[in-house]
Symmetry: C2
Subunit: 203 residues, 2 copies
């Protein structure tokens, strides 16, 4: 089966459409389907008992949400939640069909493998950064990685905190110091990068 054939098979499955900020699944929900994101993106969080949250990874267009997969395979407790970042669409593949595809198509297998190893790599990197780098560094890296064409990005301190694995207040303070140093400008719900070079040297 060629990659093209795969995508035509996939297109036979129903597509769901979700608005931004919607919950895709939450903790302990039974996983019966595999999702393949066809537009938009989904962010997967971990959440502690007290409500603290941290971003684990993001699933983009063309990628699979494999949390469900690993849950099914490993009979594991997976205390995570997923929300759409913006308007998002996804193909829904029932477990049976998924396994059959896995049997029959080497290309599909490769795709799934890729997805799994991509996740592993992402989570690992995030872990490393959070444990080994300073908050300021993580913040700077994140801002640079998500700026738009005009060098600004639209986000709240709260969201940033979840992204870099810290608390909102800490983000506020760090952003303030970056602002007084002239590296960025902040406004309600948006941040503009003024000096990307010095920002990238921050840490």
């Amino acid at each position: 089966m060629t990659p093209n054939q795969i995508s035509s098979v996939i297109e036979t499955f129903p597509e769901v459409h979700l608005k931004g900020g919607q919950c895709v699944f939450s903790q302990g929900q039974a996983a019966e389907n595999f999702l393949l994101v066809t537009g938009g993106s989904v962010t997967v969080f971990a959440r502690s008992a007290e409500g603290k949250e941290v971003v684990l990874y993001r699933v983009h267009e063309g990628e699979m949400c494999l949390l469900t997969t690993t849950c099914l395979i490993g009979h594991r407790h997976y205390p995570a939640e997923a929300f759409t970042d913006s308007e998002t669409s996804a193909r829904v593949i029932p477990a049976k069909e998924f396994e059959s595809l896995l049997e029959k198509s080497p290309e599909f297998r490769k795709m799934v493998f890729n997805g799994l190893s991509e996740r592993l790599s992402q989570v690992t990197q995030r872990f490393e950064h959070v444990v080994l780098e300073s908050v300021k560094r993580r913040l700077a890296v994140f801002l640079l990685s998500r700026q738009d064409a005009s060098g600004s990005l639209q986000t709240t301190h709260d969201q940033l905190a979840r992204e870099v694995g810290t608390a909102r207040e800490v983000v506020s303070r760090q952003l303030k110091t970056l602002e007084t140093s002239g590296l960025i400008r902040t406004g309600r719900g948006r941040i503009t990068i003024l000096d990307p070079v010095r920002l990238s040297e921050t840490g």
Copy 2:
């Protein structure tokens, strides 16, 4: 191919033997083989530029070291290191053979999938704990999970720090408070749990 047949195939590959504390692979090393641990265990670390280290996950008997796999599949930079915990043996499967097995045997595939999802799950959990729980809690959980039959374990503060993702000094201080509270007793290179119940409530 049945599980039994798989293991007999696997036994045709050469087995390597390593002593405890040996490096299995280090950063940026080219990965040409897949390793299946047949005895002992291997710990995989991340290391920062300044030499700080943190444990990512452990590979036990019967499990695969899939770091190499994900590297190969994804052409990714994987800045990790692995060391044997104790005397360890492993089968070495060349990449070609590995892929062929993956093609031919559903059971082998399942095994590899299992391994990948197991890793993902482990790293995720570790990540969550480090970000969301206190040092004292992580320490207590770790001590309890690795005590031997007599309620003690043999390890250094340094090792503990790597396990729970903190600094050695912090471990020393936390252990001291646990000791003065009568929950544990410490000695050079070993810790004895005196009150597992209260220890498990720590945090």
